[in-house]
Each structure stands twice: as structure tokens, then as C-alpha cells.
């Protein structure tokens, strides 16, 4: 189908030299560069492009812009496909492939349309009323049913092959919209030298001027646009962004815009450029010149394909050189439809005008009659007829009360209805900025009220519609915005000369009465995208809904992806008529970002894949990789989880590593543990206040295990702190808690105790740490160490010393998380890998075995050592862990007073216990619940839960740690844990399974 039967021979902003092939629903078409999918389809006479959401009614192209509720297409193939694209905004590119949505099996014959016949059964609130009960039906039946029936487009299922970028910018004046007012604003702001950004959503600036025949300075408007752009380009501080939609207006003049850099190019041909760019803009001042959207009129079957907005019809004729039909009925409540009627007539269509006003504008009416356009004044459209395309309308003369008709209705055949219900300023961004929208009775629309942020609206966005006023208001807004940002320039800009276009305001007319009194209004559509009719809104009002926010949610009007750009004002008007109140009393809904939908790709930008989050690795990482380690993510760190040998399962590897650590030597990369260097005259005093136990008396050369609580008395981190010198400590934290603990120390130091002299520095990455454990650990270290006595008297458990290991300066700390005699060797990071490989080589004859975090967890659980964050969860006190002895009675510390609260002293608090399953081979799942009494099905009273659980190769059986109510008093009791399809019995024990006296540790 290559014949563009409805294309005009001349005019328009299209390039007839560049034909562009595309397909729609499998049919091939040709358009021109400069077309949108909508204009190209209309050039072929295609109006039917989709089916409606609820009733599957055939729908056509309503608008020529962002407000489009009907013509939503699936565009692009495979990984490039995007759903719900507005055909009115999608620029044509070679090979574009679009399909209609929400129809099965085909657009012309849609099985779902049967629901249209049932529409009396789908009233407002239908979903709420019907799909509520029983609740179990929702997930299994209703939701899939609704999703399938309602389905908008499909999201792509393959990874996104495109690249997206983000820009962060500051400017003095951001002008949103490059129509007449926006261009004028940018010109007057730009000439002051202010840094100006002008963002416009269309492919070329100009707004509605691109589709009008208006003259500025006695020349076509496009010439004025071109010269304005030339002026702007000559200003070095001005940046013009076409194809850029400002989608969000947030606090403190922070705005987000989406630039469609490559959406108008065939997929994959943009080269190095991203597909889209997300701009995050902090603007000193904002000028909103976002224009206006035309309102539809509400009459029976006003949703038939071939019925479009009058302004849109004018755009298609003038901008895209498309004749949208053969014979048009233009129906209006205002003057703006007259130029549209004239343009339609001038391109060869037969035109009738139906004006609900009894006195049409004289000059315009005369110009129309000159073209043999018949005008039916004081008439309204009763109904449209036709199914897949309008073919006829019924009109009738309105009676004196304007609530019914007089005389004989008459029929006019037509294939286009161009309707105009007046203009709605596009107040979306103003509303997002928290400004209140107010109803203007003179203009019959909602306009911006008082500004809340550093912002002003200009032109149609401000309810100022005549071109001459748009230009002057834009100019003044730009000048004022620049001045407010500190930029002024003497001398005014000349006002461009504009043809006199004095329009009468629209008559407040919203909805055609039914053909006979009392007939239903269920085909008088208000919200096209969500299939909400005037009857639905009236029903909601009758059922007691008064606030527009409630009516909106009950009827779903304005809740589609278009956010009701064409429907909200009509809905409010109908509510106000039904309730007999003024529209201002009904109120307005709050517009939310985004103005038009954004892709997730744009929001994610480059923060995907390996750039989503930084990865931290230790100096020994390459060795772990080379030796086949499986890794575990701990915070941002990659830690070896276990090191499987050939043919080993995870359990095999962990068993082998655990046995080696107790019987030979195990070696662990402990670099990731948080290390905080603490110095200052009051460092000891500060630590005394932070830890539950005392640190002031800790001697230099010694270490102490400390517990930290929040002010609520709950344990939040633990670790060993070494006193390096009188005023110098080195604190270790859990791997995941390092940043949090440092922030915690800083907070208390800066906000509560600024009088204490103490300084903190993270030194986690300054030192690499290899920890060796096991009966031969000392023997190995003695071979490599110089300048330090490693004997148990010289370097006892919980002390540290300095010397050299393999020639490297090292700090050796006698701490143990495995329960074996252990040496933690700290060396400058650059030596980490050398230290590790030297230890591995020298340790070979002792059977040195690297172990990962899993074996570490098993070994520490055998000893009953907790992991903060695994065995604690923010509700656990030191005493709950059996560490009450670590709570000092002689000093205050953070959280101490809370431990005396009655709730912290209850005997039936959850306390740490061990669990031994009756079947020693059964390993309980972590998180399993201990119940008071097993019942056939939940709910059961839960009295505890498993926090850590492993198979211990050293013990030849499973072990678990659990938090159990009153657990310390229950040692020896049998408890039951119900699991899916089975239950496990276990005996409560002390939370230590190995070397209870700690002799191995101190050896």
C-alpha cells in the first residue's frame, strides 16, 4: 500500500524527496521524513489504530501530540520493542515496525469486543465490586484475566541493547516548551547573558505554529521560528534541546528531562550516541511555556475512528500535508475551530460547522461561508454513527435550557469529525511543582495559581491563548526570570507583528444531552484510554463520591498512561453538573511525574551490569580466582566462599576446609573486615562510651572483644579493638558493618560529645590480612617471622606484636574466630598477595588449606561465636546472646539505660541457644521457626527461630544456633520445627559445640 491517497501535493514540514517505508500490523506503507506514524497512517486513510482498554471499541487517532489517549502502538522489534508509544509522537524511520495493541485476533475483528456489548455490566467501580471476593481468587483467576483482557503493550523480554546516559546540569533559566511563548522567553532571557536551556518535546521547535497558517511579521510563522533559533544559536550561553520532554518538576527547582537522542533513527544505527539521555537540571528560574491541550466534546460515540480534535486536524493538514478525510463536520464551543474548518476546506474537504453557540463569530463565520461552509449555530452533535470509522452524525438544535433538543434532528454524512471543546493549559509541570491549579470561569479552564517555586507560566500554559499575547507574555516571562537570576539588559526586544486574531472565549459547554430525556450516557466517552463514560462519572456522583480524587479512583478516569490530559477537565465539569456545583468546588487531581512515560533504560542510565554497584576486591583476589574460589558477596566485597577441588561438591569442600583448620592449618583472607584507626587524647574515654565493656584500662599491646549497642540497647556490631598506644586504637568491625560503624562513631563524636578529642579514619584498604588457624599455625609463622617472639607467654591470646613476616613489616594479632590458636597477620596492602603466596608455599608441608567464608561460619558456629546481623536482628540485647558479662556496671555507655527497661529484663526474651537435631544428618534451614505446639496447619505460636545452621565435619553432625524464648532455661528440652511437608525435632543445648573451655584457642 504505497499510494498516499490523502497526501497533499504541496506544503507541510515533510520532505517529499525522502520516502520512508514502514509497516503497521504487517501491512507495508510509505511515508516521508518528517512524518509521525500517525500522520503517515492518515496519509493512507488509516484511522483505526487500536482497541480500547475495557470494551475493545475500535479507536482512531485523536490528537497530534503528547495528549494522545488512543493511538498507542507497540513500536520496534525484538529487544528494541517499546509498548504504548503514542503514534502521534513517534517519528517515522526507515523500517519502523508498529503493531496495534489490545486486540485479538486482529484489529478489524476483535473477539474481546464482545465486552462492548456487555458494557452495561461494566459500570464504574466494576473491578472493586466484582473482583473482591473470595480473596484467594484474585491472584489465580481475576488478575491474569484482567491483565490478558486489558493488556496494553508488551515489554521487551531480551536485554536492552541500547545505551542510555545521564546529564547533570545547572542553568539560570530553564524554558520548557519552544512554541511561541517559549521561544520568546528564551530570546529575552538569552540576550541578558543568562545561561538558558530551552527544552522542547517535538522534533523541531515551534509548537503549534508549525501547524498553523498564521503570519508573524508578515511572513509565515516558520520563518520567525527559524530566525529565533538562529538568534538563540548565536548566544553562547543558550542551549536548545529538541526531542526533549521535561517529565518531572521536583523540589528546589530540580527538573528531569528525557532527550530522545536516537529514537527517530532505525534501531542500532545511532553509532556512539545513546538512544536516550536523561537530564537532571537544577534551574535558578523556570519558565513553563508548555502550551495547551484541546478538549474533546462529549457526545454519543464520540470515540469512533475519524473523530479527532480540531487543532489536531489542522496540524495534520498544515504541518504534515495530510487531508484527514473527504468530508468533515467541525463541532465546537469556541472560535478556534473556525480556522481549522477553513484549513480543511482549503485542502479540498467538504466541511460543515456545528457551533453550540447561537452567535458564531462574525468575521470568521463570514470567511467560512465564503468557502461554502454551512454553519449550524446553536446546534450540538447528538451522536456519531459508524463502527470502524465515523460515517454520519446526528445533530439537533439545542432548546432554550440547553439540556435537550428542539426541532427535527438531521443527519450529515462525513468521514471526519473535528471537535473542539476549548483549550486546557498544560499545567502538569506547574502542578508537580506543588502549585495549586485554579478554575478560571472566564476562560472555562484550569489555570496555574500562585507560584510556589521560582517559576512562572507563560502563553497557553498560563491560559493566554491569542498568539500576540503569547509572544508578549513569553518575552516578559523570560526577561523577569533572567532578572530574578541576576541578569539584566537594557532595551526591550521588538514585539513581532501578528495578524489580529481576537477570539471570544469558549462557551462553558461540556456534554451533549442524550437524544431523549433519561437515555443513558454510557457511550458518551470522557476518558478514552480507560473507557470511562459520562454515565460512569454520573454513577459515581450518585453513589456519593464528591471529591474528584475519589471519583478518579472509583471510575479510573485520568488514570491511564496519558494521565487524563484530554479527559480531566471534562470529568470535573460533568461531576460539577451532576452535583450542581461550580467546577472550582470539585477540585482538581494532582498531576504526578512523569508528564509522559519514561523508559527504565533512561532511568537506569549507565548504572547497570557491573557499573550498578562498585565491586571491592582484596589484594589476594587474583590468587583466589586462579585457585577456583567460589565467591560470596558481602556488602560490596567479593569474598572467597569456598575453594572446590576437582570433583568436589560445596559440602565436600567446606568439610575439607573445616577439618584442615582444626587439624593442620587453615588460612583465611580477612582483609575485608572493617578497620578503623582511632586516635586522640580522649580515644579511650570515647570507646568506653561506645562499647558495652570497658576499654580505658586496656593496656597498650592488648586487644579486647567489644559489643556495640544502639541507644535502644540492641546489639548492632561487634569486633576486636587493639590498643596500639596510649592514645591510639585500631577497631575492627564486621565486613558489612564497617561504613555504618564509622558513621556511628562520627555521629556521636560530632553531635553529642564534641568536647572529646578523638579522630577516626577508615584503614580497611590500607592493610591486607591473612589469618592462619590451627595446631601448626605457630610453627609455620615461626619459620617466616623475624623480630617477634610468637610464644604463648610473649604473645598470648588477645594481644598483638610487631615484627617482620617474610621480610615484610607486619602486625600480628592473636585473635581467633575459628576457636583455634590463630594469628592474624596485617601487612601493607601492596604486600598482601606476596604474604599470601609465601604462606601457602611455606605451609604446604603442614597441609595449609585456604578456607572461605562458609567454613569460617561453620567453625565459628561450632564455637558459638555470633555474627552480628545473622544471629542478631536489631531486637537482641547482649544478655540475650549470653554476653551479659560484657555489660559494664561501672560506667555509662550507649544503650545502657535501655537495658534496664522492663522489656529488656523479661525472662522470656528470645535467647541464643544451640540446637542439635535428633537425626544428626538433618541440617535445619536458617529461618526455620520453633513452635510451641505443632498443629496441622498455620497459624502456630512461634517461640523462636534458627539463625545459623550447618553440617559440622569436625563433629560429624549438624549444628544450629537459634533464638528461643526463655532459651537459657530450656537446655535439654526437645523442640519441634515444622517445615514444608515434614517436621524436625531437636534438643536445646548451650550455644557452644566444641572446646567449651577454649583451651585450643589460647594455645
Amino acid at each position: 500500500m504505497n499510494e498516499q491517497r490523502f497526501r497533499l501535493f504541496a506544503g507541510g514540514r515533510i520532505d517529499r524527496e525522502r520516502a520512508v517505508r514502514f509497516d503497521f500490523d504487517g501491512e507495508r506503507y510509505t511515508g516521508f521524513a518528517g512524518d509521525t506514524v500517525a500522520s503517515a497512517l492518515l496519509a493512507h486513510g488509516v484511522h483505526l489504530v487500536g482497541r480500547s482498554f475495557k470494551y475493545h471499541r475500535p479507536r482512531g487517532i485523536l490528537s497530534a501530540g503528547a495528549e494522545e489517549p488512543n493511538a498507542l502502538l507497540q513500536v520496534g522489534r525484538g529487544a528494541y520493542t517499546l509498548p504504548n508509544q503514542r503514534a502521534t509522537q513517534v517519528e517515522l524511520y526507515a523500517g519502523l515496525s508498529a503493531t496495534s495493541q489490545n486486540r485479538w485476533p486482529s484489529l478489524r475483528f476483535d473477539a474481546g469486543a464482545v465486552s462492548s456489548l456487555l458494557s452495561p455490566l461494566f459500570p464504574a467501580g466494576f473491578y472493586y465490586k466484582t473482583f473482591m471476593w473470595p480473596p484467594s481468587f484474585w491472584l489465580r483467576h481475576y488478575e491474569p484475566l484482567i491483565r490478558r483482557a486489558a493488556g496494553l503493550g508488551r515489554s521487551p523480554t531480551e536485554p536492552d541493547p541500547d545505551r542510555y546516559e545521564k546529564m547533570h546540569v545547572h542553568c539560570d533559566v530553564l524554558v520548557v516548551g519552544a512554541g511561541a511563548a517559549g521561544l520568546a522567553a528564551a530570546l529575552s532571557a538569552g540576550r541578558t547573558g543568562a545561561r538558558v536551556m530551552l527544552a522542547d518535546e517535538q522534533s523541531e521547535p515551534g509548537g503549534w505554529l508549525l501547524g498553523s497558517k498564521t503570519a508573524i511579521d508578515d511572513a509565515p510563522a516558520v520563518e520567525w521560528i527559524a530566525s529565533a533559533l538562529e538568534d538563540l544559536r548565536s548566544m553562547p550561553e543558550v542551549r536548545v534541546l529538541p526531542r526533549t520532554t521535561v517529565t518531572g518538576y521536583y523540589d528546589h527547582n530540580y527538573l528531569v528531562a528525557l532527550e530522545r537522542v536516537g529514537d527517530h533513527l532505525p534501531p542500532g544505527t545511532g553509532g556512539a550516541r545513546p538512544r536516550q539521555r536523561l537530564w537532571k537540571i537544577r534551574a535558578r528560574q523556570v519558565v513553563l511555556a508548555t502550551g495547551a491541550h484541546e478538549r474533546p466534546l462529549v457526545f454519543r460515540n464520540n470515540d469512533r475512528p475519524g473523530i479527532m480534535l480540531a487543532g489536531a486536524a489542522r496540524q495534520y493538514v498544515n504541518r504534515y500535508a495530510v487531508r484527514p478525510g473527504e468530508s468533515a463536520v467541525v463541532v465546537t464551543n469556541n472560535d478556534s475551530a473556525y480556522p481549522a474548518a477553513i484549513d480543511l476546506s482549503d485542502c479540498g474537504m467538504q466541511v460543515h460547522i456545528v457551533d453550540v453557540r447561537s452567535r458564531p463569530p462574525e468575521a470568521m463565520a463570514a470567511a467560512a461561508r465564503q468557502r461554502s461552509i454551512e454553519i449550524f449555530a446553536g446546534h450540538a452533535l447528538v451522536a456519531a454513527h459508524g463502527h470502524a470509522r465515523v460515517r454520519e452524525v446526528t445533530l439537533a438544535s439545542l432548546d432554550a435550557a440547553r439540556t435537550g433538543y428542539t426541532g427535527t434532528p438531521r443527519r450529515l454524512s462525513c468521514d471526519l469529525v473535528a471537535m473542539s471543546g476549548g483549550l486546557n493549559p498544560a499545567v502538569h509541570l506547574f502542578s508537580q511543582s506543588r502549585g495549586r491549579i485554579v478554575y478560571s470561569p472566564e476562560r472555562g479552564c484550569f489555570v496555574p495559581g500562585e507560584s510556589v517555586q521560582a517559576e512562572r507560566s507563560a502563553g497557553a500554559a498560563n491560559g493566554t491563548f491569542p498568539l500576540a499575547y503569547c509572544l508578549s507574555e513569553g518575552r516578559e516571562a523570560g526577561k523577569a526570570a533572567a532578572a530574578a537570576a541576576g541578569f539584566r539588559k537594557r532595551g526591550g526586544l521588538r514585539s513581532p507583528k501578528v495578524e489580529g486574531e481576537r477570539e471570544q472565549p469558549a462557551e462553558a459547554w461540556w456534554i451533549s444531552p442524550p437524544s431523549r430525556a433519561g437515555a443513558p450516557l454510557n457511550k458518551h466517552f470522557v476518558d478514552f484510554q480507560n473507557d470511562v463514560s459520562a454515565a460512569d462519572i454520573a454513577l459515581a456522583a450518585r453513589e456519593g463520591y464528591r471529591s474528584v480524587e475519589h471519583v478518579k479512583r472509583y471510575t479510573t478516569t485520568g488514570m491511564g498512561t496519558d494521565q487524563g490530559k484530554t479527559s480531566n477537565t471534562n470529568a470535573i465539569a460533568i461531576i460539577s453538573q451532576t452535583l450542581g456545583v461550580d467546577p472550582s468546588q470539585v477540585g482538581v487531581t494532582t498531576f504526578r511525574p512523569p508528564y509522559t512515560p519514561l523508559t527504565f533504560g533512561a532511568l537506569a542510565g549507565r548504572d547497570i551490569g557491573e557499573l550498578a554497584d562498585p565491586v571491592r576486591t582484596t589484594p589476594m583476589h587474583d590468587w583466589h580466582l586462579a585457585h577456583g574460589a567460589a565467591f560470596e558477596d558481602v556488602g560490596q566485597w567479593k569474598r572467597p566462599w569456598y575453594y572446590p577441588a576437582a570433583g568436589e561438591s560445596m559440602q565436600d569442600a567446606v568439610d575439607r576446609e573445616c577439618l584442615a583448620a582444626r587439624n593442620a592449618i587453615g588460612i583465611l583472607d580477612a582483609t575485608t573486615l572493617g578497620k578503623i584507626d582511632i586516635q586522640g587524647a580522649d580515644a579511650a574515654e570515647f570507646l568506653d562510651r561506645i562499647y558495652t565493656n570497658g576499654f580505658r584500662k586496656l593496656a597498650p599491646g592488648r586487644c579486647r572483644y567489644g559489643l556495640m549497642c544502639g541507644e535502644d540497647g540492641m546489639v548492632f556490631d561487634d569486633g576486636v579493638t587493639a590498643r596500639l598506644a596510649d592514645r591510639h586504637f585500631l577497631m575492627s568491625t564486621t565486613t558489612g558493618g564497617a561504613a555504618r560503624v564509622l558513621a556511628w562513631l562520627e555521629e556521636w563524636s560530632q553531635t553529642e560529645w564534641p568536647e572529646l578529642e578523638v579522630y577516626f579514619n577508615s584503614v580497611t584498604e590500607q592493610y591486607a590480612v591473612a589469618s592462619i588457624s590451627g595446631p601448626f599455625a605457630r610453627a609455620l609463622l615461626e619459620e617466616l617471622a623475624t623480630g617477634i617472639d610468637l610464644g604463648p607467654e610473649a604473645l598470648p591470646f588477645m594481644s598483638w606484636g610487631e615484627g617482620r613476616v617474610a621480610g615484610i613489616p607486619a602486625r600480628i594479632v592473636r585473635v581467633s574466630f575459628t576457636g583455634e590458636s590463630s594469628f592474624e597477620i596485617n601487612v601493607p596492602s601492596d604486600y598482601g598477595l606476596y604474604l599470601w603466596t609465601t604462606l601457602m608455599r611455606a605451609g604446604a608441608r603442614y597441609g595449609i588449606t585456604p578456607f572461605g567464608t562458609e567454613a569460617m561460619h561453620v567453625l565459628r558456629a561450632e564455637k558459638g561465636f555470633i555474627i552480628a546481623g545473622q544471629d542478631t536482628d536489631g531486637t537482641v540485647t547482649p544478655d540475650d546472646l549470653g554476653l551479659g558479662r560484657m555489660v559494664s556496671r561501672h560506667k555509662d555507655f550507649i544503650g545502657k539505660r535501655s537495658l534496664a527497661r522492663p522489656d529488656c529484663r523479661r525472662a522470656d526474651r528470645k535467647q541464643l541457644v544451640g540446637l542439635l537435631t535428633e537425626d544428626p544428618q538433618t541440617v535445619l534451614p536458617e529461618g526455620a521457626q520453633i513452635v510451641d505446639r505443632v498443629l496441622p496447619r498455620p497459624p502456630m505460636k512461634m517461640i523462636g527461630h534458627v539463625t545459623s545452621s550447618y553440617f559440622s565435619a569436625n563433629l560429624g553432625r549438624s549444628i544450629a544456633l537459634a533464638l528461643l524464648r526463655g532459651g537459657r532455661e530450656r537446655h535439654g528440652e526437645r523442640v519441634v520445627l515444622p517445615l514444608p511437608k515434614r517436621r524436625v525435632a531437636a534438643t536445646v543445648t548451650a550455644p557452644v559445640f566444641y572446646d567449651e573451655q577454649g583451651e585450643r584457642l589460647r594455645a
Partner: protein, 96 residues
């Protein structure tokens, strides 16, 4: 996205900062002497003001310093920024 004037680094985007809750909540000098009710009040009770709120912020992804901010919780307007331990230059407004 608020624009917060860090006293040390100047105006920066909100996402460089962390919120630290209501300001000027004094930790009792002798916690042991507090009744359970008094302690609970210190620990848990906050004003949740609708209006000008005095609150703490920290420039987490910047200089790391804590400071106070007087911010209107309705309009998000920031009326003052002042140091830890300083008296507020404006009075809080609005009920809690």
C-alpha cells in the same frame, strides 16, 4: 531533590546527604537517673512537625560533617543552616 547548603562545601544535591532526624534532642546527662517514661521519651518520641522543623543532616558523600537545618516540612523551604551545638537562628513552627 532538595538543594542543601552544606556549611563546609556549599550547595549540593540532597542525595549527597543523610537525614539525621529531629535536632536539639539532648541526651540526659545521667541516664541512670531517668525514669522509664523519661528515657522512653528521649529514645522514641519525636515531634513530627508540620511546619518549620529543626533537623540534623550529615554530608555523607562529601565532607562527612553533621549540621542542623531549619526546613519547612510542608514546602521543603530551607530557612537556615547552622552548626552543631549552635542555637537555632529561627524558631520552629507548626504543630507536631
Amino acid at each position: 531533590m532538595l538543594l542543601i547548603h552544606c556549611p563546609w562545601c556549599g550547595p549540593r544535591n540532597e542525595d549527597e546527604f543523610s537525614y539525621g532526624g529531629e535536632a536539639h534532642i539532648v541526651r540526659p546527662a545521667a541516664p541512670e537517673a531517668e525514669s522509664d517514661a523519661q528515657w522512653a521519651d528521649y529514645l522514641f518520641m519525636r515531634t513530627n512537625r508540620k511546619g518549620l522543623n529543626l533537623e540534623r543532616w550529615v554530608h555523607t558523600h562529601g565532607c562527612g560533617r553533621w549540621f542542623n537545618v531549619a526546613r519547612d516540612t510542608v514546602t521543603h523551604r530551607i530557612e537556615a543552616v547552622y552548626g552543631m551545638g549552635e542555637a537555632p537562628p529561627v524558631q520552629s513552627r507548626g504543630g507536631g
